[in-house]
Amino acid sequence: MTLKARVIPCLDVKDGRVVKGVNFVDLVDAGDPVEAAKAYDAAGADELCFLDITASHEGRDTIYDVVRRTAEACFMPVTVGGGVRTVEDIRKLLIAGADKVSINTAAVTNPDFVREAAEKFGAQCIVVSIDAKQVNAPGEPEKFEIFTHGGRNATGIDAVEFARKVVDLGAGELLVTSMDRDGTKSGYNIALTRAIADAVPVPVIASGGVGNLDHMVEGIRDGHATAVLAASIFHFGEHTIQEAKHFMNDAGVPMRLDA
């Protein structure tokens, strides 16, 4: 047997609170990211992702406390992303207990930051988060472009070339989000996921657009990702982690089903 595909619930955190809340189990405090993390740990999630969307500078330190309390209570890997711009940001997150840190915009504006981070902390904890849209007209060869600022700003950078470049610089994993699918529930952009996964030797996490469990199977089987990230499908109780994992396993994707 080889590595199992991973299911990664992602929690959006703002000023230390979960955005919109999580209502899939009876949590004492549905807005507390640590409560949600513990519930996902108990549910058998393979990994957890926090995306810090805190806008204000003053609020940014709240994530360290969230990560610290999560690492004390959860015995699974935790990745933290959002607003990571300096080596000091990474150092503080790792010291708080993050296993991996994901770099997004800073990798686009300053690719050398990826190299600096990987050399300092090791490739195994540096994830580069790639937000891309498919930009070719129908019938033309596939072309994917990097977008920043939540999909608003085009960069002109080819997503597959960028993926190769950041891996060469030391990224140990890529989180590939299809921005044209995010929030649509129409499934991952499989062409994008596969184009990047086949171009790089490191693991790829598919993200953006999950609406049902078939989409998660497609992300692994057709997109060649090794992990799938999802948010609302779990947070709003549509499916449990175990339902997703059993569904994927039954569909022929080997999963970790430890009781």
Binding site: M1, D46, A71, F75, P77, L94, G172, V202, D258
Partner: protein, 217 residues
């Protein structure tokens, strides 16, 4: 029971500390888990844990930069025979040599070299990152009490690109398959080591730690 987790600047140790505390309580031990860079406290502890993340050479230099620590480890583990648990690069450091970027001597407690993983299937991703099952050698070990191993057994969380190629198969307690057979755990005398992260491996990890705390070599 005092459990000393050695702090030599190799990453965050809070998860390891909390995992040992939880595992100890689960098996009715009264845990006194200390994260320390003080060789005296290592010498006084009942059990010693050596964690490690990153590159072999960095970890080796970091450990040797703590004054008196290599000597304290040698005394506590090899001479006093305290139960020892190496985690990830902490386990790799038990080897004779590391061949990551440069050749560098390890603690030399278990014969073998730490070298780059080269799965036969070149499409497989490196690092070996994620959940894999482990295969126990025919002679089991007390730390596996009550744990299901093999292809249908429990999973361990790995993240590494280098592996411990043991010189003697009897030192290799468990393996994992990744288009090739690689060392998941070593065991020799009073020592065990895991390539995976027990503090991130949910049930398998916590039970393994609890069994280690029960174990009298």
């Amino acid at each position: 029971m005092t459990i000393a987790i050695i702090d030599y600047g190799s990453g965050n140790l809070r998860s390891a500390e909390k995992a040992f505390e939880r595992a100890a309580r689960a098996h009715a031990h009264t845990p006194d888990v200390i994260v320390t860079s003080d060789p005296e406290r290592v010498l006084k502890a009942d059990r010693v844990v050596l964690p490690g993340v990153g590159a072999f050479a960095d970890c080796k230099r970091g450990l040797w930069a703590v004054e008196g620590m290599p000597e304290a480890l040698e005394q506590a583990v090899r001479k006093d025979g305290k139960p020892f648990f190496g985690i990830c690069v902490g386990m790799q450091l038990m080897a004779s040599r590391g061949l990551e970027f440069e050749t560098i001597e390890g603690l030399g407690w278990v014969d073998g070299d730490v070298t780059a993983m080269e799965p036969a299937d070149k499409t497989l991703k490196i690092p070996h990152m994620g959940w894999n099952t482990i295969n126990l050698r025919p002679e089991s070990h007390p730390v596996f009490k009550g744990l299901e191993t093999g292809p249908d057994g429990l999973h361990a969380y790995f993240v590494h690109s280098f592996h411990f190629a043991c010189a003697r198969t009897e030192d290799r307690l468990a393996t994992f398959d990744y288009a090739g057979t690689f060392t998941a755990m070593v065991a020799k005398d009073n020592m065990i080591g895991t390539q995976f992260h027990p503090e991130k491996s949910q049930r398998l990890g916590l039970e393994l730690i609890a069994n280690f705390l029960d174990w009298t070599p």
